[in-house]
């Protein structure tokens, strides 16, 4: 991978466009059903952008519109400066795609699969031979290059899919649920490699995932789509900050509690866990609550095994946003 091209941003014409993906009012209707409803967002060059949402929220339909598989009913988008409707072939030349639940050609070898995609992206023979081998090595597939696709495990097939998506030297990589259902090792290799390609080569990544830890770990910004509409776009940190009330303190006692701790916050919510020996208190001031619980435990002669304050997780944000209908919040910066 030593001479893998760093994305210089020169492909967009003027070389100064900092936007890799710009969606404007993307809408897709299936008969009376609106799967994606006027979705607009932009992804900066070199960013890993997470696209989160419950099943059926419109994530894959959005990806399919952006990658040219499905035509939008309304709206359009640009990929690396190329309009997906009026300049579709140039737009597609700039992206690599790993569609949801897609597979490799079972009757072709690992190497033939990679070379086929390289040829479809018109990569020259010398370059595709070099990059192909680099990629197989990077994803731990070099030893299996002569194996047929049908003989690979699901995890190895997904790694091969990534090689196939990357061999065309894309500026933007679309990954639709890339680690769903994979073994821990393959999911780790994929996450680690995506992060590395982004850091070292400036690869822009558009990632849909159900795995909120994955989004939290990898993504610079995330968008949450719910029932076809964009509900939030921001950094994971900023989104977590929007639900401060979901900060909490978790305490585990040495023995089951007969009464719940009392703290001086009427808005706090308390829930027991760990078979009655633990208690989780949601409060805007978890540090002060921890102190008060310590005092309360001493007064009642209870021994504390562990105590920890917790910030709200992306999952908390996701649940808070997708449960009720929420207005669009775009980060101001």
């Amino acid at each position: 991978m030593s001479d893998w091209p760093v994305d210089s941003g020169t492909s967009s014409g003027d070389g100064t466009n900092p936007i890799a993906i710009e969606a404007q009012g993307l809408t897709r209707r299936y008969g009376p059903t609106t799967a994606v409803d006027h979705v607009s967002f932009s992804v900066r060059r070199g960013e890993i952008f997470g696209f989160l949402g419950p099943n059926g929220a419109g994530k894959s339909t959005t990806v399919r519109m952006l990658t040219g598989y499905v035509a939008p009913s309304e709206g359009t988008a640009t990929l690396d400066g190329h309009d997906i409707l009026t300049d579709a072939l140039a737009a597609r030349q700039r992206v690599g795609v790993v569609p949801e639940e897609a597979s490799v050609y079972q009757d072709l070898t690992v190497w033939q699969n990679v070379m086929l995609m390289a040829e479809l992206y018109t990569v020259t023979r010398a370059r595709r031979n070099r990059y192909g081998l680099d990629l197989l090595t990077l994803f731990g597939l070099a030893e299996r290059k002569s194996d047929k696709g049908r003989n690979l495990s699901k995890g190895l097939r997904q790694r091969l899919m990534l090689c196939m998506a990357l061999v065309g030297e894309p500026a933007i990589l679309f990954l639709d649920e890339p680690t769903t259902g994979l073994d821990v090792a393959s999911a780790h290799v994929i996450r680690e490699t995506i992060g590395r390609l982004n850091r070292e080569r400036g690869l822009t990544v558009f990632l849909t995932t159900h795995n909120l830890d994955e989004a939290n770990e990898l993504c610079h910004r995330v968008a949450i789509i719910d029932r076809g509409r964009l509900a939030a776009v921001d950094t994971p940190h900023a989104l977590r900050g929007t639900i401060e009330a979901r900060r909490s303190v978790e305490v585990i006692f040495a023995e089951p509690l007969t009464a719940l701790p009392e703290i001086n916050d009427p808005a706090a919510e308390t829930e027991p866990f760990a078979g009655g020996t633990g208690v989780r208190i949601f409060t805007g001031t978890p540090g002060r609550a921890a102190q008060e619980i310590g005092v309360w435990a001493t007064r009642h002669g209870l021994r504390i095994e562990s105590i920890a304050t917790r910030a709200p997780s992306l999952e908390d944000v996701f649940l808070a946003i997708t449960a009720p209908r929420a207005p669009v919040r775009e980060a101001r910066r």
């Binding site: 300049d87 597979s103 992206y121």
Partner: protein, 255 residues
């Protein structure tokens, strides 16, 4: 079209991508013993089942057998490639590659035509070796084989436009279209000997013109002048390709 490149560059690139798709089809779908065997054995034995026992000179049977082999082999796999790819979940990535829909369809057509033309060598060789049949117009033979392979390949691509991931559905449709054609296209009985209503139906079948052109090339009596047959085959091929692109595009829009 791309804003960055002139149309000629884009067309040249798409033509190259069509060859890549054709190579992929050949490697995955055509170069398999069962496909090759079926492509050859089915039409030959189907033809012999109708021809044996009839008081027809054996050399007169060669154009029909050659056309049957061409027809069945060139249109055998094409209708199934898109449903197979949908079923195997490889189609979406192919469709989102820089290959345009037209390049993908052209690639499928080229693979089918090459397969059909290659398979047709066997019945032709057998016919020339085992019967008194002789090639009297090699140019028209070449035109007949090539245009026949292209038009039947295009028919296969058109039949693949049904947006399904169930190959059995397409297979049923394919046989529904193909099997009746062989009875009205002058394969077993020359067009001139068919009843007039059957002749009119035969005029709507590309197989009629292919058989007729092959009859010319092998010195048999033809119904049409060869240039009319060649023109008709070109028109059918253009029509099938246009319709295939339209239906595939519409299917993609409504997918």
């Amino acid at each position: 079209m791309s804003r960055d490149h002139p149309a000629a560059v884009v067309w040249a690139r798409q033509a190259r991508l069509a060859l890549v798709v054709a190579k992929k089809d050949a490697m995955i779908y055509y170069l398999k013993a069962p496909v090759m065997t079926f492509g050859l054995i089915f039409p030959v034995f189907f033809f012999l089942a109708f021809a044996i026992g009839r008081a027809v000179p054996s050399d007169a049977l060669v154009p029909g057998m050659l056309a049957m082999a061409l027809f069945f082999s060139a249109s055998a796999v094409g209708p199934l490639i898109t449903p197979w790819e949908r079923q195997a979940r490889t189609y979406e990535r192919l469709a989102t590659s820089p290959a345009s829909l037209e390049a993908i369809l052209l690639g499928d057509l080229l693979a089918a035509a090459a397969f059909g033309a290659a398979i047709s060598v066997v019945p032709l060789g057998l016919g020339l070796m085992l019967t008194p049949a002789r090639v009297v117009a090699p140019g028209w033979l070449m035109v007949g084989v090539v245009l026949g392979a292209v038009v039947f390949g295009a028919l296969g691509v058109l039949l693949a436009a049904r947006g399904t991931d169930a190959p059995s559905e397409v297979m049923m449709l394919s046989n529904l279209v193909r099997l009746p054609l062989i009875f009205v296209s002058g394969v077993f009985v020359p067009l001139a000997h068919l009843p007039s209503w059957s002749q009119w139906v035969g005029f709507l079948s590309p197989l009629s013109y292919c058989v007729d052109l092959l009859r010319t090339s092998l010195g048999e009596t033809a119904f049409f002048p060869p240039w009319i047959s060649a023109g008709a085959l070109i028109a059918f091929a253009a029509g099938f390709v246009t319709l295939a692109a339209f239906f595939h595009r519409r299917q993609r829009r409504t997918a």
